[in-house]
């Protein structure tokens, strides 16, 4: 009974953990590079959700402190932290996506097992053809 009550009061945190694990599962098991990036994004989002949740107060206002407003206010610090995190996440995602484009231009695939196959076969014919047709 006590466990259920604790789980219920911490349900926001537990959902963040579940999201984190879901992202980790996708990141580790998917052979598709784009899906790996999506998994990484889900993990990042779960961390942001967790940090923002720690700053929340029941019935609290956003931290816009006008003179004479008694509050309670949500903590501004987690929000500022998460804003930084989101910017970094966007940077990482875009860099990963453009590197995946580069991989696709080189191997014609974003599936890890297909890339491994063409690496093992030393197949460069397709690559040179792609390079030739793509330069305009």
């Amino acid at each position: 009974m006590k466990i259920a009550a604790t789980a219920l009061s911490h349900v926001d945190y537990l959902v963040a953990v579940a999201l984190f694990l879901t992202g980790a599962w996708i990141l580790l098991t998917s052979g598709n590079l784009v899906k790996k990036v999506i998994g990484l994004n889900i993990m990042e989002t779960s961390v942001f959700a967790f940090i923002v949740t720690t700053g929340m107060i029941d019935g609290g206002a956003p931290p816009l402190v006008a003179p004479g407003d008694p509050g309670p206010f949500a903590s501004p610090l987690p929000h500022a932290l998460v804003l930084t995190g989101i910017v970094v996440a966007v940077s990482v995602t875009s860099l990963a996506l453009v590197l995946i484009l580069r991989v696709r231009a080189e191997f014609g695939s974003v599936e890890l097992d297909e890339i491994a196959l063409s690496l093992a076969a030393g197949d460069t014919a397709e690559q040179s053809e792609r390079h030739g047709s793509a330069d305009d």
């Binding site: 911490h10 694990l21 931290p63 501004p76 989101i86 970094v88 580069r102 231009a105």
Partner: protein
Amino acid sequence: MNRRRAGRILTAVLIAALAVPLMYGMVQLPAPGHADAPAHTNVSAGYIERGAELGGSENLVTGVLLNFRALDTFGEVLVIFTAWLAVAAVAGTASNAERDPVPPSPVVDYVIRLLGPFIAIFALFVIVNGHVLPGGGFQGGVLLGAMLILLSLVMDAETVARAVSARSWIWLRATGVLVFAMVAVMGLPLAGYLFGLPDEPGLRQVLTVALELGIGIGGGAVLAGLFFAIAGADRS
């Protein structure tokens, strides 16, 4: 096939092994939303009590970002600008102009063109009021970037990317970094230290809005630039 299956089972075990300490740790924390949790009684209580007065903006998040932790935010602006540089460098060597543009339906086209100016005005409003209302430079910048991306979906990325010359795009993307660096150096004579904002309220307000505008315009241009680079429209 068999190896893949073994890998999945191993991953499931790993995830389960990760889940137990994470869940256990989480339920030890004070429940979210309680005003007497340590997260609310220590540092952040001080910020809420005196942050608006000391930081110069009623929106404490903006105060923290642009004043108390300005060095961090400068790093953040640098990170996203550097990300664009890296993406543009990689995209320049990967060409993917093989996809055919799909013409959108006239309704979608018309609605997005109609919405464009309104989104731009809203973005400006969010940026300029970032110190008193929810919002700020990054949020407004994301709106600007989203507007450019939306437009390039209906008009084709090449056209939108060429609306501004390649040289001007670079300066626009560097706006955030340049404005922030300028305001940081101005802190030396005005406040006595780098990244300081002056105590005089009017001047401080002007500098805060200038910072927000720089971050907003730079952020929007960088976001659009990331999209153009990935869409293969901007080779500059």
